[in-house]
Symmetry: C2
Amino acid sequence: MNIGQIATQTGLPAKTIRYYEDIGLIQPGRDANGYRIFAETDAHKLAFLGRARALGFSIEECRKLLALYEDKDRASSDVKALAKGHLSDIEEKIRQLEDMRATLSNLVEACAGDHRPDCPILTGLSRD
Amino acid sequence: MNIGQIATQTGLPAKTIRYYEDIGLIQPGRDANGYRIFAETDAHKLAFLGRARALGFSIEECRKLLALYEDKDRASSDVKALAKGHLSDIEEKIRQLEDMRATLSNLVEACAGDHRPDCPILTGLSRD
DNA sequence: CTTGACCTTCTAGTCACTGGAACCTTTATA
DNA sequence: TATAAAGGTTCCAGTGACTAGAAGGTCAAG
C-alpha cells in the first residue's frame, strides 16, 4: 500500500505518517521507485498511534505503548501505570480549565456588554 | 525599575517579559547603560497580561484585551464578546478532555495491572 | 580588584505537526 | 504518443509561547 491509501485507511494525514517514520515510530519498506510501501502491521501500528494520540498520549508515551504492544512478555501493570499517569495529567488539565472557566464566567456574567466602556472583565484583569 | 524587580513584582520570568517586549506587548524605556526601565504603567500591563494568560487567553487575545483596556472609549460589548469566545474555547477543551478521561478510565479500570501480558488498554488501542 | 549578581543580545530548542517549494513517477485522457 | 493530473519524494521553514544557554557588559560590596 502507498501512503495515500494508508492515510485514507487510518485517517492520518500523509504528512503525519511521514513524520512518524522520521521519528522512528514506524519503518515502512520502500518500492523500487522510492515510494513507501506499507504492510498490514504498519497499518495496525498507525491506527494504534492514531487512537493513542486521540486519547492525548504524547508521542513519547505512544512510543512506550507501542513497545509494550509489541512485547509479548510485557506485564499489564506497566501499561496500566503509563495509562494512569496520563489519566491524572488529563484530570489535572481538566481541573485547571474548570478553574479558568469559573473565574472567566463570573467576569463575563458581571459584564453588561453594552456600548459603555465600564467593564468588570477588564477591571478584574487589571487588579485583584 | 529593572527587569528583575518587575519580574519579582509580577511573578513573570524575566525571559517572558523580554519576550513580551519583543512581540510588542510592552515598550519599556531604556537606561543609559542599556538596561530596561519599567514604569508603573508597564507593571500594570504586565500584571494584566499575567492574569489574562492565566485565564488561558492567547497572546493575540491578550493584545486585543490590552488595546481595549487602554481605549477609554471602548464598548464593554467588545470585551465581553472576546471573553465569551474564549470561554467557549475553554468549554470545548473541557469536553474533549472529559471524553478522553471517560474512555481512558474505562480502559484503565478494565486492566488487571498484574504480571500477565493480557491488557485491555492495549487491545482497546489496537482495534475498535 | 575581584567576586558575584544582575543586565544585555543572540541562537536554538521545545511539541507535534503543517505548508510549501521543487522535483520525480504513475495513470488517465486527447 | 504527448501531455496533464494525481500521486509520490525530499527538504526547509513556520506554528505558540516561551525557555535554556552562551558570550559578554555593568554594578555594588568587601
